[in-house]
Amino acid sequence: MEAKPETEKKEKNWEPKILAFLCRWCSYAGADLTGSSRISYPANVRILRVPCSGRVNPLFILKTLRSGMDGILVSGCHPGDCHYTAGNYNARRKFAILSRLLEYVGIDSRRVQFSWVSASEGDKFAKVVSAVVADVKALGPNELFQLPDFGQMTKGPASPDP
């Protein structure tokens, strides 16, 4: 291997991993502007582009939590500005209900956050990311769904078939 990165030399200091669903027209463009403006923010976020915040099924969030992601951010256009006119309004309703549901079953709502970031709000995006990272870091790693198995069913056969 030619170039050995410093990644392996780094200490095993836990850093939260955050998946951000960004809408292509506002928030994704806003995140691009953060870059063009060379504004720094923590490197914990991984961005997944969607056409509209309305595309984000609340069940994605459940699945992402199940997969072990420490935090989730969903960001779209400000109400009234949706490129598709109403996607963010539909999303807003579902996320309101999901937020409350998560809180009720004991999942801290700081793990799953939402924002409206427009294409011109490069600095806001950086601030939102920093705030979300700080919140999730304070909550600790997502160990929510590493629950004891029910019987041996998930462990599979003890040894491969002969």
Partner: protein, 322 residues
């Protein structure tokens, strides 16, 4: 406004049913009949007038008959308790049934008996109970030759104790009787869990969902779960593993709850049929309260109002959004 309520007596019900068949206004009539298990009834699917002889409308009519409309298509006569009638409204709103295909006979309900709960209150095993009968506002449990008097609160299903819709919200005829909630005042029992801390709530629910065996009885008995194929059965992509591991159980139930929100009318069947006695109604009630508070929406009462996730208001709450 004076409303002419087409009432029918218990005896008249049989005649009504026969008339509906004779006039070819229904292809099937859904009701209850006594089965082989004590303190339970089984659905009666009548295809002709004579089948209605077995019709039973006394106690133990637990089932939400609107469930069977998933399979029984065409014009159907159906008995509906107050709670069940709201399922019918929900299903009409969801395009699953047409109002004109139904002939709804509302039936009075003084609350449904929970045999397991009654046995516990009577300090006996469910198999030891010989008879459960009403005496005025109380219940008499006969077990092992002895009689125990129990109150409604000790015998009725939890959901019946906070009944808000004793009278069907939609019907073509009403069976003669009293349409009063079994327990007054209508103030609902508070869910203490809501006041607990996040970690306490987590401990509670993870403990509950650990026990789920993924029998899907809750889903199968729910009239709001009418998808031709449930996403649990999809593997391309896989929404949730079908294995009954704690984490996946949790996710399955949350996913199902998000899907039925807006359609669920808290008929309570999911909790009643759960073999592991998981308190699913707590989740449904929380969802119902949130929908009412956030979007001024109550499922199953208004045939005109748009379902909550199919519409929006400019002023929808967004204090949770940065």
């Amino acid at each position: 406004m004076s409303e002419i309520i087409p009432e029918v007596s218990k005896d008249g019900l049989l005649d009504l049913g026969k008339k509906l068949f004779d006039e070819r206004r229904v292809d099937y009539f859904l009701g209850y009949k006594k089965g082989t298990v004590r303190f339970k009834t089984t659905p009666l699917i009548a295809g002709k007038g004579e089948d209605l002889q077995e019709l039973w409308v006394e106690d133990f009519c637990h089932a939400n008959l609107s469930l069977y409309l998933k399979e029984i298509k065409g014009r159907v006569g159906i008995l509906a308790k107050g709670c069940d009638s709201r399922s019918l409204v929900s299903l009409i709103k969801e395009g699953q049934i047409k109002r004109e295909d139904l002939y709804i006979v509302g039936i009075p309900c003084a609350g449904q008996v929970d045999p397991g709960k009654a046995a516990k209150a009577a300090s006996c095993e469910p198999e030891e109970m010989e008879e459960i009968s009403r005496r005025g506002q109380e219940f008499v449990i006969r077990a092992n030759g002895q009689e125990k008097i129990l109150s409604k609160t000790q015998v009725l299903l939890d959901k019946c104790l906070c009944c808000q819709y004793p009278r069907p919200v939609i019907f073509d005829s009403l069976l003669k009787g009293d349409y009063v909630a079994p327990v007054l005042p209508a103030a609902r029992a508070q869910d203490d869990l809501r006041k607990k801390s996040v970690s306490e709530k987590w401990a509670f629910w993870s403990g509950q969902f650990e026990r789920c065996i993924r029998c899907y009885a809750c889903r199968n008995t729910c009239p709001a779960c009418f998808c031709p194929r449930c996403i649990v059965e999809e593997n391309m992509p896989q929404w949730v593993s079908p294995l009954p591991a704690g984490g996946d159980n949790f996710v399955f139930h949350l996913m199902r709850l998000m899907h039925v929100s807006g359609t669920c009318i808290s008929c309570g069947e999911c909790q009643r049929v759960c073999p592991m006695e998981i308190p699913l109604m707590k989740l449904n009630e929380k969802m119902t309260d949130d929908l009412r508070e956030l979007f001024d929406f109550v499922a199953g009462v208004d045939l005109e109002k748009v379902l909550p996730f199919r519409t929006y208001r400019q002023e929808d709450p967004q204090d949770f959004i940065r």
